[in-house]
């Protein structure tokens, strides 16, 4: 995704990435990144939390205006209520066997 943003930016359209994977984003270095320390899949908050969704979306839009340095990565000061872990996906033997056939 970061690679796509880089190509889009190079073509003359400004981009902002809103990421829940800080280490991946730091490596790929899109032009502008906001890191949200929420579970992957909840980039803009919880289901039905329109206020939070709008807050993060506005932060992304504002960041396009205020960011000044190519490759900048800023941590949004937001905290998810509970600790969360890496989502390992379906790990049943059947699911893994299906995945490995690809």
């Amino acid at each position: 995704m970061g690679l796509v943003s880089r190509v889009v930016e190079e073509s003359g359209i400004p981009t902002v990435n809103v990421s829940t994977g800080r280490d991946i984003t730091a490596l790929v270095r899109p032009p502008r990144s906001l890191f949200v320390n929420f579970p992957m899949g909840n980039t803009f908050g919880r289901a039905g939390d329109n206020v939070m969704q709008t807050k993060i979306l506005r932060a992304a839009l504002d960041f396009i205006v205020t960011a000044e340095e190519p490759g900048v990565l800023v941590d949004l000061p937001l905290k998810w209520d509970d600790d969360f872990v890496y989502f390992a996906g379906e790990t049943t033997p059947e699911a893994v066997a299906k995945q490995m056939k690809k």
Binding site: L3, R6, G21, G48, Q53, R58, L61, F87
Partner: protein, 162 residues
């Protein structure tokens, strides 16, 4: 809490599934295009990589490799007409309310409020992970995507990896 170390976690997962070692892209610099007009005059598009497709279209394949598919998403369509097929993140919340990952309705509200100029005619879903032929992204699929954005007069893109 400390951010999750996805690079290590995904390397382990891919390895356990017999995928070839994944060479993550690493860049020291980044391209830059300044925004030249106010947000209130900008046409804004969203791009998400979380396996979202219209329920009448084929689902994304969560375990595909080198899948360069990118679907147009009609911002006027009801968001409950979309399905998610991705096994690399927990989309239980997004299944109930797509906006917590892909805030199509929230963006429309900001356009209504006049905080942005307009929502683009099309949003986008695609560029799933596990892309080993990265030069094809850089040289073919991303440039083709740019042409679509330009056709829609998009002034800025919000990209949401998942």
């Amino acid at each position: 809490m400390e951010p999750i170390k996805y690079v290590d976690a995904l390397n382990n997962k891919y390895g356990s599934m017999g995928f070839p070692p994944y060479q993550w892209s690493e860049n020291d610099t980044a391209p830059w295009t300044p925004l030249t007009k106010p947000l209130t005059e900008c046409t804004v598009a969203l791009l998400v990589s979380g396996g979202i497709s219209h329920c009448t279209a084929a689902p994304f394949d969560p375990d595909a490799r080198n899948d360069h598919r990118v679907d147009a998403i009609d911002p006027g369509e009801a968001m409950d007409q979309y399905q998610i097929h991705d096994s690399y993140y927990d989309h239980a919340d997004a299944d109930r309310d797509l906006n917590c990952l892909f805030p199509v309705d929230r963006l429309a509200e900001l356009a209504e409020l006049g905080e942005i100029g307009a929502v683009a005619n099309r949003h986008w879903s695609g560029f799933m992970g596990r892309t080993y032929n990265r030069s094809k992204v850089l040289n073919e699929s991303a440039p083709a995507f740019v042409e679509q954005l330009k056709a829609d007069g998009v002034d800025l893109l919000i990209a949401i990896p998942a």
